[in-house]
Structures are given as structure tokens and as C-alpha cells.
């Protein structure tokens, strides 16, 4: 009974916090709401006319939605890089950052699920996929694995921070014996969501571009670069606009994680490029299309040739301690690394899988305005969710939100 009362008061208090804020905050939320509405409008058009309003065709049957989904799974998985040292190794530094990281994971997972739903041809029969009610093709289909691990991870990432915040809200310490097992579990889980998502593509013998053993590990490396890079940027913003204290030491430690992951990612990229171009086979054609274009069709060229230099530049800059410890350089690096990996692990990965087609047909893919609208809408949704979560969490951590403060 008492718990319920506390919970009710927490909801009321957090509603109070998220509806109050500076002018900038309101402007930000209004902007996000507007973009979300536009996205919803685009989605309603898609619902009415079917997926034909997107750029996808029988030749390239996955596009922007699945690309973003793939990338965001990586962002979600990256929260683990912060969870581990904080909860398990008792590294006090990370304690504040980790709540932010987990909030980011929750937002990213919600976006993932939204992208999957947006990509479905029949959202009205999605209940066919609910285990127990529909028919769940487990364990044969990797997609069912993905549904399980993603939802499990979402659950973990909601419950752990919620427990901690709930305790802090009541002015009590969170018991480590309760959350540490959960935290350890989520460490393994994060690796799982990313590997399983990679296996989704890796397991298709029909698509040689994906059917390669390095895909999974490379997913992990790029995720552990892009995710924490985003966390650094978010922490920088939070540090600037709120009273929430985040020490330089924390950011520097995360920067270390980003650097190592980016270096490993680069090594794997070189290995991949070597394999595709040293002794090119019939199966290297997708890579050729991606990097050089085939038969004069070269829609992805500008993208990939933006991504690769950005990736290399960021990795090189980060490698030097002097540069990395300069926050201006660090934030810049994180930004370009994030963009680079978004391109590379997004449509730089998905689209070439379909080009050339099973019989060598080269049909290109360009997203339509509606597709882009829905995509932006879902990103806005993610940002919206994250802002709400972060604002509440920060309020509690700063002690502004407290049970029975008024009484």
C-alpha cells in the first residue's frame, strides 16, 4: 500500500518536473512534439497506401527503417559500457553517468521497436508475433530471438534505474544486493542484443555481403564506439544546461572506451576491405557497389565516402591523449564518429546487402519524403522519451524530487 502511495507521488512529482522548465526546455519539447506529429502524419499516409509510399521495392526490400533499427540496437547496447564499471567494479565516477546511459538505452530501444513496427506491412496483425497468442517461430527465426532479447533488455533497463531512483526518491540508499545481479545480467544481455541483431543478417546465405563471420564482432565494436560517443555528447549537454555535476574524469573515462572501440572497429574495417578487394570474387560485388558503384549506379558513394574519412579522422584524433583530453576536440570527434557509424552501420550495411540482387540486378534505393518523415518522427520520439527520463532522474538525483518534501 505504502509503495503504491510513494509511486503515485513519484508520478505526480515527475509530471510536475517535466512540465516545468526553462524557456529553452519548452521550446525543445515543442519542437520534438511538432516533429513527432509530422512523423505521425507521414505514418498515417503509409498506413493508408501501404509501404509503396516508401522507396523500398521487391529488389531492395529493407531500407531506412531497418537501417536505423540496426544502428539503434547498437546505441542501446552501449549503455553496458557504463553499467559494468559502476555497479560491478564500484567505480564511483560513473554513477551519475550510468543513469543517463540507461535512459539512453531505454529511448533507443523504444525507437528500435517503433522502427520495426513502422517497417511492418501488416501492423494490425502484429499480435501474431506475441508468444502464446500468436505463433512464435522460436528458435528457428532469428527475428523471434531479437524480439525476446530486445524486450528483455528494455525490461532490465527500465527496472534497474527505476529501482535506484525509487529508493533515492524516498531518501534511501539503493541496496546493491538487489541491483547488482540485474546489472551483471544486463552486461551479458547487451552483448546478446547486438550479436543476435547481427545474426539476423549474418545468417542469410542468400546475401553474401552480410553472410560473413566478422559482422557480429564488428557490430559490437562499432556499437561500443557510437553509443558511448553519444553518451559523451549528451552528458556534455546536460552538464551545460543543468546543475547536474558530471566530473571531467567520468567523461575522460568514457572517451577511453570510445577510443578503444573505434580502434578495434577500424582494424576490422581494414580486414573487411582487404578481403573484399585483394582477391575480389563474385561475392564482393556488394562491397564494390558500396565503395565504387556498379554500372554507373552510385547512390551510396557520397555517403560511404563521408563515413570512412570521418571514421578514420575521429579514430586518429582520439588516439592522441593530448587531443582526446581537450574537450572541444573530444566532442567534435564524438560527433563525427557518431555520424560515421550511423551511415556505416545503417544504410551502408543494409542497402548494399540487396544490391546486386540474387541474379545480379542492380536496382537502387532512395528513401522517399514520407519515409524520412516517419524516421525523423521516431528519432524525435526517442529524444522526447529520453528528455523526460533524464529530467526526472536528474531531479531525483539532485534531491529536488523527494517523497514527502512538502509534508
Amino acid at each position: 500500500m505504502k509503495r503504491l502511495k510513494v509511486f503515485g507521488s513519484l508520478v505526480k512529482d515527475s509530471l510536475d518536473t517535466i512540465t516545468h522548465g526553462s524557456k529553452r526546455y519548452h521550446l525543445w519539447m515543442a519542437l520534438l512534439t511538432f516533429v513527432m506529429l509530422v512523423g505521425m502524419y507521414c505514418y498515417s499516409i503509409q498506413l493508408e497506401h501501404g509501404l509503396s509510399v516508401t522507396g523500398m521495392t521487391d529488389r531492395v526490400s529493407w531500407g531506412l527503417y531497418i537501417s536505423n533499427f540496426t544502428f539503434l540496437v547498437g546505441v542501446a547496447a552501449a549503455a553496458v559500457m557504463l553499467v559494468m564499471p559502476t555497479y560491478v567494479l564500484k567505480d564511483i565516477d560513473f554513477k551519475q553517468a550510468v543513469l543517463i546511459g540507461e535512459g539512453l538505452a531505454v529511448a533507443a530501444l523504444i525507437m528500435c521497436l517503433a522502427f520495426v513496427v513502422a517497417d511492418m506491412g501488416g501492423p494490425s496483425v502484429l499480435w501474431h508475433m506475441i508468444p502464446g497468442i500468436g505463433v512464435f517461430n522460436f528458435p528457428n527465426s532469428m527475428l523471434t530471438w531479437d524480439v525476446l532479447v530486445l524486450n528483455g533488455y528494455l525490461f532490465l533497463n527500465i527496472t534497474i534505474p527505476f529501482y535506484i531512483l525509487f529508493r533515492h526518491y524516498q531518501g534511501k540508499e539503493a541496496k546493491s544486493s538487489v541491483y547488482i545481479p540485474g546489472a551483471i545480467l544486463s552486461v551479458f544481455w547487451a552483448v546478446a542484443i547486438h550479436l543476435v541483431t547481427a545474426f539476423l543478417y549474418q545468417g542469410l546465405q542468400a546475401r553474401p555481403f552480410w553472410n560473413n563471420a566478422l559482422l557480429g564482432p564488428r557490430f559490437l565494436a562499432s556499437a561500443f564506439a557510437a553509443g558511448p560517443a553519444l553518451i559523451i555528447l549528451v552528458l556534455a549537454i546536460i552538464r551545460n544546461f543543468t546543475e547536474f555535476k558530471i566530473q571531467d574524469k567520468t567523461i575522460k573515462k568514457i572517451a577511453m572506451v570510445v577510443t578503444v572501440a573505434a580502434q578495434i572497429n577500424l582494424i576490422m574495417l581494414i580486414s573487411e576491405l582487404f578481403k573484399e578487394f585483394y582477391a575480389p570474387t563474385h561475392h564482393s560485388e556488394s562491397a564494390y557497389y558500396l565503395f565504387f558503384g556498379l554500372d554507373g549506379k552510385d547512390a551510396l558513394l557520397p555517403w560511404i565516402w563521408t563515413a570512412i574519412p570521418l571514421n578514420v579522422l575521429a579514430t586518429v584524433l582520439l588516439t592522441f591523449h593530448k587531443l582526446r583530453n581537450n574537450f572541444k576536440v573530444l566532442f567534435f570527434c564524438c560527433f563525427i564518429l557518431f555520424i560515421a557509424i550511423w551511415i556505416e552501420k545503417g544504410f551502408g550495411l543494409i542497402v548494399p546487402g540487396f544490391i546486386p540482387g540474387p541474379y545480379g540486378k542492380i536496382a537502387e534505393y532512395t528513401p522517399t519524403g514520407i519515409e524520412i518523415g516517419v524516421t525523423l518522427g521516431i528519432w524525435a520520439l526517442g529524444a522526447f522519451v529520453f528528455t523526460i527520463l533524464a529530467k526526472t532522474a536528474i531531479g531525483i538525483e539532485l534531491g529536488k524530487l523527494k517523497y514527502n518534501k512538502k509534508a
Binding site: 506491412g121 501492423p123 494490425s124 502464446g132 497468442i133 505463433v135 541474379y359
Partner: protein, 375 residues
Amino acid sequence: MSNNNKKWFSLNLGRKEKVSSGSCSCGKTSGGCGTSSNSHHMTDDEFAAAAINASIGEERTKDGFEQVFDVKMDRRTAFKKLTASLLIGAGAVSTSCSVISGDESREKSQIDWEEQFKGNYKLMTDEEKQATVDRLVRSYQLRTGKTLSMSSKNAEEDVLFGYAFNISKCQGYMDCVNACVEENNQDRDSQMQYIRIHEMKDGKGFNFNEADDNYYHEVPAEGHFYMGTQCFHCDNPPCVEVCPVQATWREDDGLVVVDYDWCVGCRYCMAACPYDGRRFNWSKPEVPEAEINHNQHYLGNRMRKKGVMEKCTFCVQRSRAGKNPACVEACPTGARIFGNLLDPNSTIRWVLENKKVFRLKEDLGTEPKFWYFMD
């Protein structure tokens, strides 16, 4: 793969062996595998054990069996209805509850309701299959005033369909493509075609990269030869493995089919097919009323809706009625041969035993039941 030492193909014909080894090629839940109701229960029990092991819950064994809503209304059924209705929104509900609606529209919405919440065809009993077919026929009648015949005929025993394509004979006339579109009620707007005819240059071998599968000129063009592709009805179909909801499966006579009403439109199967065999309804399929083929099969050429996957079914409505697929019948050159692989006197068997046949991308282990040969 196959233990019986047949020289002419390496399909695994002994389906029982496969079941006992726990890897039935039609997917994990082998409910649709057995034709007799006996084997049906057997496989279901086996599957139940596996499902519990995988800790999904024993409820799965029942999936798709509780089709008739008015009869059973246990907790699960109620929950099923509830969840689904939340998902489809208020639209269907409001129509089905409308007070002013007459008998016919009441019946129509009743049908729509039951169709929306029916189970997976693969797991249905024969009566349930008949019921859904009856509903679809009635619904068509209510909407258009016309009748159609729809079959729910199951696979026959001792039948395994196979196909052979004579590359020497094909002249690229595309009569097969047109016959297929007419027979199978494909969307005319997007010009969906199951068959692709690849025009290749003489002297370059089977070079698909330089082939043209979208030509608009007089055929046969000088210095070219032609080769058709479609769904090959793989005996080990990757498209079936990946489907998250088992909306696509391999029937006992070897046909790989899709339940258009169960498909959620994720297009994972499309990515998994190495042969470009699948087609997706990107928008609502349109077929002019006058051109509709009214002789239909639930798993074959019945009308599709938007957002679902479809593919060549070897014209299940024809092949299970003892006829040749439309493409075979339409081909003016006799390049297409279809028949029962288990019948030693069939033409297809003669071709496989006497011609030098090959299949595409054999290295992928998909075991297509579609062979090419030359005179």
C-alpha cells in the same frame, strides 16, 4: 543428405527420418506436416516438449486451433480477442457493433471479425480450413454479388512436385509470365510477376550479371538465349526458417506456400531467399473485376491484401487438381515440364534420369526442386 542412394537428385524424400531427427524441413512446429490426423497429434506432442524446453510455455501447442470464436471462449481466447482488438483499433469494432446495419452487413462484419482473429492456416484442422474458406467465399459474395470457388485441398500422399526447364527450347516469348499473372490474380498496378525471364548473350555462359530480365523487344533476339526463374520450392527453404510467425511453410507435396492472412509483412523471408522468389504487396493489389480468376485455392491465387508476401505456388489450385501450372500450359515451345517426382513414370522423372540437369546456387544447400537442362 539423403540416405537412399538415388543418383538423380539429393532431395530428402524420407520425411519420417527428418521428423525423428527433430529437424522437419517445414519448420519447427510440424503441425502442418502430417496429413493424417494421427501423425498430426504425434508431431504436436513432440513439438510441445521442445517448446517447453525452450521455455516458451506449453500454450503454443494450441496455437491456431481455437479458431471458432462462438464455441470456445476461455480465458485465452478472450485475451486473444482483447489484445488484438486493441491493436486494430476501433474501426472493426464500431462496424461490427453498428445498430443500423442490416442483416447482410452484420454478417459481413461478423466474417471480417472472425477473419481478423483466426489462427494460422498451417495449424488448422481440416474443418477449420473449410470454415475459413467458406467465410472468404461468402464475404466475396456479399461484397460483389458474385460467387467463386475456393479450395482448401491438402497435399496428397506420395506426391512431391518438381519442375524442369529446357534452356534450349525457351525463346523468351513470356507467355508463361502473362498466363501466370492471369491465373494467379497478381496486382496489375505494380505489374507483379512471379516469373522472370533472363535474356543472356550467347557465348557468355550463364552470366546473370549481364542478363536483362526486363526486355521489351521482339524475341528471340539474335545471339541470345533465355532462362526463366521463379520460386524454386526449395526442399530446405531458408525463407521458411526465418519467418517469425510461421506464415510460410513447406507443404507435404513440396510446395512452399504463404498464409496471406497470417503474414505480418516483415519481409525477412524476402531477404533470405537466394532466388528472388518472393513478391511483396507494397500497396493494395488491384485486379479488374472482369479479370479475376474465380477458381481459387486458399494457399494459392485467392485475393491478397496490402502488406503481405506472396510467391509462385506452382499454381496449387491447379497442381493439386491434377493439372499443370499455368506457365507450363502456356509455354508454346514446351520448355517447361512439371510433375510428380515420386511417380517413376512421370515426364519430370524421365528428364531427371536422361538429361544432364543442374540447379542454380546448389552450394547454398537449399535443394531447389527446379532443374535446368539442355537438349
